[in-house]
Symmetry: C2
Subunit: 217 residues, 2 copies
């Protein structure tokens, strides 16, 4: 069985590992599943061939036999539910790990993504500079709650799970902003995630694509 | 086995069914699972007793025997995976239905929730009026893609699933804005969701809580 994922031909972050294929690569590495990558350009992503895989014209996608999946969360969950390594065996603990996946994507990430809106999509607007601290405060409010729940634990709920994979991935987006440094417990949690060999391999794989010299003109 | 969920003592929407407990009520009705509701005030939600159930101090939560879950997506997925009625039997179709749940929550809903930011959280800011059309255009971009994928189909991927439940719930938020009327195919899709007896029961149950006369002072 072959798995093929899609990734940016050239990630906007230049290899920082913040594009969403890194999350899927990480999950694939954690479960020990080899995979192929098909690189797509921004133009490819809006073409009918890619829209058939991903109705919103984004990456990543997953193709596995005749299964086609889009949405990072769904792809990671599919990998976690079909292979050992990313979810506990106990049914209740499994449901809780999945809850942390949703929390990462729906409760913690949306205010973080607002940084992209304020800095880039609306970076030229007169209100951008005044809005940024409001956005940062909304993120802080979530991080206070998350740090309180994590406490001194190594991971969010027992052993490392797909919930931690997603939460660490989401928090990594904050590193350039410096916000993570205000929460040493969360910064250490993110560092534990990054130290995992599976993350290291995933990061290196996306780096090889995005930090390579641009193709000759 | 008893299931207890939490809901607002008094929803900010006054009974329009947009609070997230409606999504969980709908799922419970679709799978034919009776449930109890514990109403919580805004003050209760920030207290340690509730934060033990929900680290971010929100509703809904689910308690079932010794399982405690938070995050609407996780609760609906748990109900859908543990009871028949909300996911297809075929493994691939199941994974695709779950992908639509994530798409609803992570790709379609975030730009929609920005309406709340611009109108309420930043409603008093000088930029609010000028930002609103930008927010609306980001939502439109998603709706164009969603409408293209749905086409003339009744539901997003075969029979009605938890993916449709979540997408209809997310789109319902748009009704007050009038945006849904620009997409007759999506408006009809939402109307099909609302017409389901399970949705009707869920809506009526939250209405009974939120549209009742306020408690005597």
């Amino acid at each position: 069985m072959t798995i093929t994922i899609t990734a940016f031909e050239r990630s906007p972050d230049g290899g920082k590992g913040l594009a969403r294929d890194t999350r899927v690569r990480w999950a694939l590495e954690e479960v020990g599943q080899p995979y192929d990558v098909r690189l797509v350009s921004f133009r490819d992503m809006k073409e009918p061939a890619h829209l058939r895989l991903h109705p919103f014209g984004q990456i990543p996608t997953l193709e596995e036999d005749d299964l086609v999946l889009f949405e990072t969360g769904a792809i990671v969950l599919h990998l976690a539910q079909s292979r050992p390594g990313l979810l506990p065996d106990d049914a209740h603990a499994r449901a809780r790990a999945i809850a942390w996946m949703f929390a990462a994507l729906n409760t913690v990430e949306p205010p973080i993504l607002d940084i992209v809106v304020v800095k880039f999509q609306e970076g030229d607007k007169p209100w951008a500079q005044e809005r940024l601290p409001l956005v940062m405060d909304r993120i802080r409010a979530r991080l206070v709650q998350l740090a309180a729940r994590l406490g001194d634990a190594e991971w969010l709920d027992g052993a490392f799970s797909a919930g931690d994979l997603m939460m660490v991935s989401v928090l990594l987006r904050l590193r350039p902003s410096g916000l993570l440094d205000e929460f040493p417990g969360l910064a250490a949690y993110v560092a534990r995630g990054e130290a995992r060999p599976a993350y290291q391999r995933a990061f290196a794989a996306q780096w090889a694509v995005n930090a390579a010299p641009p193709p000759a003109a």
